[in-house]
């Protein structure tokens, strides 16, 4: 402590490695040395391996299942079918969206890859052999993969719901219809459209894709029959919710269930849902009394767990002839596949799609969404975005471009004249959101200046001239996007999942020697929580981040929380961390005052210590206070130094950003080359700039993938055409550019440290930016809109359709 006296205040701040510093990650030591502990690394004594028999058909009656040959194979312990699960009422399970889903095929199958039987064997090879030996007789049924056809068809996909005219989200119009969700004032919007000087219309398809983290989903369930305890390890983005759901489904009391999320190899939304594999591994462990592991392979992952997007969006946007937007109308036909297993807060069946008015001051708007069943896999997760926000932002950023074409106006200028002004925050959007803070004009100007926007447009015009004169076969696209995200769900008053309010939590224990452990209700999947949450605490309580352990993911030790997705960790659990830290500080201040023999109000916190006001030489460091908290009898104060905070955010946070992509397109091959990508992000207060930058690089790359080639495609028979990484596009280092990152800082006014969350912004803004670049290249030749993904073939086809090939 004596040495501290010699340190300058600046040194003391630096020693903390608190907020704002590019602290190196504490997670990296184990990951770089191959010592991560992922689900498939978990190996318990006597553990069995589970594997699924899956449906080759997209729609078929299951006539019979014969498991005899499989059961006769040496090493096979059990083969579970729906009949075995039925007595436990586990042959179906509730989905996060208020629907139900078959755990194992109950009389019929509704999508290719659907789980039909679960084989349990002594090793994974024997399990795979046994899967081949299970004989399933199918009688195929007509397949529907198109949601518009589904709404007209006499074929009933979900016979279990036949006759139900109402679902979890209100009335159903047709036997293949799930819900209608409406926000805004349709009559007023239509009236504005009727009276408008200019109306632009467009229909766009945001194709089905998949989060595809490098690690697939899996679980290891271990039922200890002696003690009546069930432990479940799994790739869970929300371990506490899994515990509660497991308790409700199994009837095992919640205190007898321990759920552990070990290291997770990326999530991006794929690991939010509850899957049949989790349920089957649990049931199999209960049945056999030994641990059972289930880990899906890549094909199973792409075919069955958690698709994203698949939105058909029809838009109308109205404006004055000089470009002031007067109204927005959006209708979505949402293909939810065979079961409605979308991961959205209960009251939002289309997530936060209603943020589709974007960053613009649009006085009146309407959104209608119809959810539809088809013979495709269930899911509908938010792939690296808050609930359906990528769809919303893609929609509005395309509508802006289409309107710019209609008005013959520059798309950057059109955005600028319609931005919500800095002085309009907090801003009430026409579709019911309260945007917390923003300064869009400043961000936009900074971005356009950084890329020399006018210079780019001049160059583009020259290129068009050269192309027309036959001097080049390359066109140039300038992709623009300005996005506003809505993250950090959310206020418990309107956000819950299966009735569980979406707060989050942090519990801190300070150790007597001045180090600490903090546990949170979230779970990192690569975001670096162990690094960054320690930084928040370091700044709040004055203990160096290097002396703080962060733990998440074990429901026996961590406080209850709703998990990590929708960029909610920093907005919600980060806030809880700061608030718990402040409780620690409040108690520590009383202890320090006692030790310094002054009144509580006469000491103040300064970096890492409490100082007597006006006498900086008289102080007690946080470490000294911690020691006293445990070892000294202090009148009126109970021993120890711990705190817990459960944080219910008053509002969501609204990160925003301005992106520009410059792309060259070879008209004859359809190959796009990204020459430049500039990304300005405003995520409010910045906790760790290194981690933020890494998140932006990663999110942009996932955006590049979605915009330029990645899709889950089906043929008319419902066969998945993109079931391996041969066909499902994941960019490599060779296809990906270097990104230029930049930022402005507009803190959230309601968040304790002003942070807004950043992990998903680059994906949300990136998809329209890359897409707009492709389409902008062809604007001079009359292209108004073409659907993603813009792979080489589709770009070539666009050029072909425009008559640009010789």
């Amino acid at each position: 402590m004596k040495d501290d006296v010699e340190l300058t205040r600046e040194d003391r701040v630096a020693n903390l490695k608190g907020m704002g510093c590019a602290r190196k990650r504490v997670e990296d030591a184990r990951f770089t040395q191959g010592k991560g502990n992922y689900i498939d690394d978990i190996n318990l004594p006597g553990m069995l391996h589970g594997d699924f028999v899956r449906s080759p058909y997209a729609h078929a009656k299951v006539v019979s299942i014969n498991t005899e040959a499989a059961m006769a194979l040496d090493g096979v312990i059990a083969v579970l079918t729906a009949k075995d699960l039925e007595p436990l009422s586990l042959h179906w399970m509730p989905t996060l969206a208020g629907d139900k889903q078959m755990v194992l095929a109950d009389g019929k199958v509704l999508f290719q890859g659907q789980e039909v039987a679960f084989v349990v064997a002594t090793d994974r090879y024997i399990a795979a052999d046994a899967v081949e030996l299970v004989e399933v007789e199918y009688e195929d049924l007509p397949v529907i993969t198109d949601p518009f056809e589904a709404l007209k068809s006499d074929i009933v996909l979900r016979e279990d719901l036949a006759g139900q005219t109402s679902g979890a989200h209100g009335p159903r119009k047709h036997h293949n219809h799930i819900f209608t969700w409406e926000v805004g004032d349709e009559e007023a919007t239509n009236q504005v459209m009727d009276e408008a000087e200019v109306v632009a219309e467009e229909t766009m398809y945001y194709h089905r894709t998949h989060p595809c983290p490098l690690e697939t989903c899996g679980s290891v369930a271990s039922m200890d029959k002696v003690n009546g305890k069930l432990t479940v390890y799994g790739t869970f983005q929300a371990p506490h919710v899994v515990r509660t759901v497991a308790s409700l489904l199994s009837g095992i009391e919640e205190h007898n269930i321990r759920v552990i999320s070990p290291d997770i190899g990326g999530g991006f939304g794929n690991k939010v849902g509850v899957y049949p594999g989790y349920v089957c591994s649990i049931v199999a462990s209960i049945v056999t009394g030994v641990p059972v592991k289930w880990v899906e392979d890549r094909m199973e992952n792409l075919m069955s767990t958690a698709f994203a997007r698949d939105y058909w969006m029809k838009g109308r946007i109205s404006a004055t002839k000089d470009g002031k937007i007067t109204g927005l109308h959006c209708h979505v036909t949402a293909d939810h596949g065979a079961f409605d297993a979308c991961a959205d807060p209960t009251k939002f069946p289309a997530g936060f799609m209603s943020v589709c008015t974007g960053s613009y001051d649009i006085p009146v708007a309407y959104l209608g969404v119809d959810g539809v069943y088809t013979n495709k896999a269930p899911g509908g997760v938010s792939y690296r975005c808050s609930f359906r926000v990528t769809e919303a932002v893609y929609f509005i950023e395309r509508m802006i471009e289409v309107l710019a074409i209609e008005l013959n106006m520059d798309a950057a200028e059109l955005r600028r004249i319609n931005f919500i002004g800095k002085d309009q925050f907090p801003y009430q959007s026409a579709l019911g959101w309260e945007y917390d803070s923003g300064d869009y004009h400043t961000a936009w100007d900074k971005a356009l200046k950084a890329v020399d926007y006018e210079g780019l447009r001049r160059e583009q015009a020259e290129r068009v001239t050269a192309f027309k004169q036959g001097e080049t076969r390359s066109l140039m696209g300038i992709g623009l996007a300005f996005f506003t995200e809505i993250v950090g769900a959310g206020p418990v008053k309107n956000c819950d999942i299966l009735g569980m309010g979406m707060f989050d939590s942090c519990e801190i224990r300070i150790h007597p020697t001045g180090s600490a452990i903090a546990r949170l209700g979230t779970i990192s999947q690569g975001q670096g929580h162990a690094t960054t949450f320690a930084q928040i605490l370091a700044s709040e309580i004055g203990i160096p981040a290097d002396s703080i352990t962060i733990e998440e993911g074990d429901t026996d030790t961590a406080p209850y929380g709703l998990g990590t997705y929708g960029s909610r960790s920093t907005p919600v659990a980060g806030a809880a961390t700061a608030m718990a830290g402040r409780k620690i500080r409040a108690k520590a201040q009383m202890i320090a005052a006692y030790l310094l023999e002054v009144h509580d109000d006469d000491v103040e916190f300064d970096v890492d210590r409490f100082v007597v006001k006006g006498a900086p030489e008289r102080f007690k460091t946080m470490a000294e206070v911690a020691y006293a908290a445990y070892n000294q009898a202090i009148p009126g104060i109970e021993p120890g130094l711990e705190a817990v905070s459960y944080y219910d955010p008053p509002n969501m946070t609204y990160p925003f950003g301005a992106y520009v992509c410059v792309m060259d397109i070879d008209v004859d091959t359809g190959v796009p080359t990204i020459r430049r990508f500039y990304a300005l992000d405003d995520c409010g207060t910045r906790i760790n700039p290194m981690v933020i930058e890494g998140q932006i690089h990663g999110g942009l790359t996932e955006a590049l993938a979605v915009a330029l080639g990645q899709e889950i495609a089906y043929d008319d028979m419902g066969n998945v055409k993109t079931g391996t990484l041969m066909d499902f596009f994941l960019p490599t280092a060779w296809e990906v550019p270097n990104y230029e990152t930049d930022h402005t800082v507009t803190p959230s006014p309601h968040h304790p440290i002003g942070a807004k969350g950043v992990g998903e912004s680059p994906h949300v803004g990136g998809v329209p930016c890359f897409s707009n670049a492709v389409m902008d290249a062809f604007r001079a030749f009359g292209l108004r809109h073409s659907n993603m993904p813009h792979d080489h073939w589709r770009i070539w086809q666009t050029a072909q359709d425009l008559g640009l090939h010789k």
Binding site: F31, T32, Q33, D41, D123, D263, H697, M726, T732
Partner: protein
């Protein structure tokens, strides 16, 4: 069941000898038989490179090689590249330049990068991007991976020069 194969391997300097079914994949030998869990399974089809090991001096995707094909081989995995007290320059460099996030691709990525720098000690950025194209990362967007590898190359070359 076909006859088992008599397999001998040297993994991270340690001799291993066992009987295995002909169909046993090398990744399962490493992960399940030998409990060397650094190499991961990401795709089962040799696209992602999470399972990359060095086998007789070449980068190999161990998810699509039978252990029988590897009989007699010398294999190095991430566990054999450095020790906690003496990390490989690349292990340091990936941390220093934030070349990883979830960490799932990292063992394969670093194992491949180590081989790449043996093959080409002073690669250009383009050569790094091409040479690493068999390893997929879903988190980082590669920019910091490329940075980590280029920085490691520079450092390795500098210490080689200093030694000479």
């Amino acid at each position: 069941m076909p006859e088992k194969l008599h397999i001998k391997l040297t993994v991270n300097g340690k001799a291993e000898e066992f009987l295995a079914e002909p169909r046993e994949l090398l990744i399962h030998t490493l992960r399940e038989r030998l409990r060397i869990t650094g190499p991961h399974i990401g795709c089962d089809s040799s696209h992602c490179g999470a399972c990359t090991v060095t086998l007789n001096g070449k980068s190999v995707k161990s998810c699509t090689m039978f252990v029988g094909q590897a009989n007699g081989a010398e294999i190095t995995t991430i566990e054999g590249l450095g020790t906690p007290d003496a990390l490989h320059v690349l292990q340091e460099s990936f941390r220093e330049h934030h070349g990883l996030q979830c960490g799932f691709c990292t063992p394969g990525m670093i194992t491949r990068a180590a081989k790449l720098l043996e093959e080409n000690p002073s690669p250009s950025e383009e050569e790094v991007r091409f040479g690493m194209a068999g390893n997929i990362c879903r988190c980082t967007g590669y920019q910091n991976i490329v940075k980590s590898i280029l920085a490691a190359a520079a450092e390795m070359n500098a210490s080689k020069e200093a030694a000479e």
